[in-house]
Amino acid sequence: MKILARVQDAGLLEEVTAAANDLGAELIVIGGGPNGNDQQLFDALRTHPGLLFVEAVVGGNLPRMRAETRARGIGLVAACGSQREIQRVLEVGVDEWILLPSSVSELASRFQAAMRRRREGDHPDATSRAAEHLRYEELLYDRFTGFPTLSVMIDRGRDMLERAGRLTILYIEFVRYSKLEEIYGWQKLDEVLQTTANAVRVFYDSQREKEESLVMVSHTGDDDFIFFTDLQAIPAEVERRVNQIVEDLEAHIRTQLDETHGEDIAGLFSIYVGATTIFRNPKIRTERLIYRGIREAAQAARSVEHRERSRKVTDLKTMLREGAVEIEFHPIVVTDTQEVYGYEALARGGIKGMRSPEVMFGVAEEANLIWELSRLCRQRAIEGIPTHLNSEQYLFLNIDPHDFRDPTFRYLDMEELGIDHPERIVLEITERTAITDYPAFQEYLKVFREQGFRFAVDDAGSGYAGLGSIANLSPDFIKLDISLISGIDTNFMKQNLVETMVNFANDNGIKVIAEGVEREDEYETVKSLGCHFTQGFLFHQPRFMTQPTQPAGH
């Protein structure tokens, strides 16, 4: 649920924030400038908040606010500082009013009452002109971001082109890593898109203050954005100004994504901007000119994207050619004795921008180089056995279900794989990857098992497969997902779950590895719960292959 607030008083804003928090609502604050902010407010109403809260003294077009909120079923609450203001807001017909000073609990209950009243109360007269007008408007503005759609843009673009004789179109393409939804869920994607839309909105508002001629922003429904501008600069300056805007916008969105969602998630998004300038031509219909311009700008954005992608693919190819993959060896210890039982090999790209395994494998997948990259990572990990492991320790290797389709892997050319002792290798298959064809997969596993390899189900408990699916694979190890282990010492829910999983494992002859143990208390807890092995930063910092090291355990 969303609450839209137009508040000037800092104390009141603090209370409104607390009240929104109490209700579990997202709060969007629209600045309370003396004039000119009405448009921003009415734009924001199109994103369908549950409630609009206004401080009466800030003013603005209250009757229009009432009409629009009523037509959309949005509650309207006004905060008043005097009897006169109360009289005014009552005339307009607000759902609830508050006499200042107020309290957090009063605000929260007024908010709830207003929304309830709106939900149950009078519905807009279906035949009224205002309602009809708004229904049409709904079609013209994106419901998710509140930005105008293309048909509105074209109209305003025509005005600009006719007035200035020239129109610059910026096309912002927003590309996400294809597996994002699979890994983090669609809610996360929605959150990220909302952050982006807000960032674009803030940027647009700040630009408009500096640059009168930057006018429109539209959302294409395809996660892309379009800006129109008729920069009044001299022609030679236009390109520089456009580049500047593009650069600022990219930087602004990047910062917002990083700050709100963290580098890991932000790293999965790319922004590409294309620009084109069109000129008035009396011989060509204006709409056609604009559509053509948008197409050109979109193509320009796409060609930036292709260049970037092909640069990344080139980087990947260089990495593959030079074998520039680093392997971190994360120790896995016997819980009771803390002896090192084995190491998990984790690959990282050796080139800037490719460090993250997700990005590196994402590029490889798009470029159809996934087998090559997997082979390199495996090879480098296996090469590390003599220097990093003693003869009793095991190497845990991450395997993607794709790998089973790779002939060199599938037909087990041990020599090519460089594996002398398959019995010392544990293949980790993540629970996060949906396995679609269980019988075929079990067949693959059988062949490997006959050769002596062992198996672990990785990230168990992250939510995709239940215990039943885990049992189907009859693994030798279950690696519990970090989300189950983090904070387990004080969380009895997690303790209970891990206990259940350990019992299940013991009944089925499977060993349990607790992953992500960072604190002594967490270690003591997983130990008392009977997890056989433990992995995490508590024991050892990961060791890089590039560092000269003694074989472990000596």
Binding site: N21, L23, G466, N491, F492
Partner: protein, 128 residues
């Protein structure tokens, strides 16, 4: 142990609220009550409980949602949340874990077990 802490009991069934409230008060805790999710969230700010005893099955906002809201709130993320659930299945516990719940008791509630779980959660709260 400091028993001068408030426990917020949330259940849409008035009889359940009364039983839990009487029991916990007899053990020396201060008790506040709410009969739906939204009222519970409003109460949080008012009474600042140390622990919330939260029924899962409620009309409107269910217990998981309430739990998620509490745990995501910067002021209340350290409040202990103990779920009261009719089902004790594996999947339910996962749902509880993902919502950020700290513990659970299964219905019908064994009052001695409840007292023990309340005690250990209040203790863990001081440790965390």
């Amino acid at each position: 142990m400091d028993k001068d802490e408030t426990i917020l009991v949330v259940d849409d069934n008035h009889d359940n609220v009364e039983i839990l409230q009487t029991f916990l008060e007899s053990r020396g805790y201060r008790v506040a009550a709410a009969t739906d999710g939204k009222a519970a969230l409003a109460k949080l700010d008012e009474v600042h409980p140390a622990l919330v005893l939260l029924d899962v099955m409620m009309p409107g906002m269910d217990g998981w949602q309430v739990c998620r809201t509490i745990k995501n709130h910067p002021d209340f993320s350290t409040v202990r949340v103990v779920m009261v659930t009719a089902k004790g299945g594996f999947e339910d516990k996962f749902e509880g874990m993902r919502s950020g719940a700290d513990d659970y008791v299964v219905k019908p509630v064994d009052l001695n077990e409840l007292a023990e779980k309340v005690r250990r959660n209040l203790e863990a709260r001081l440790k965390a």
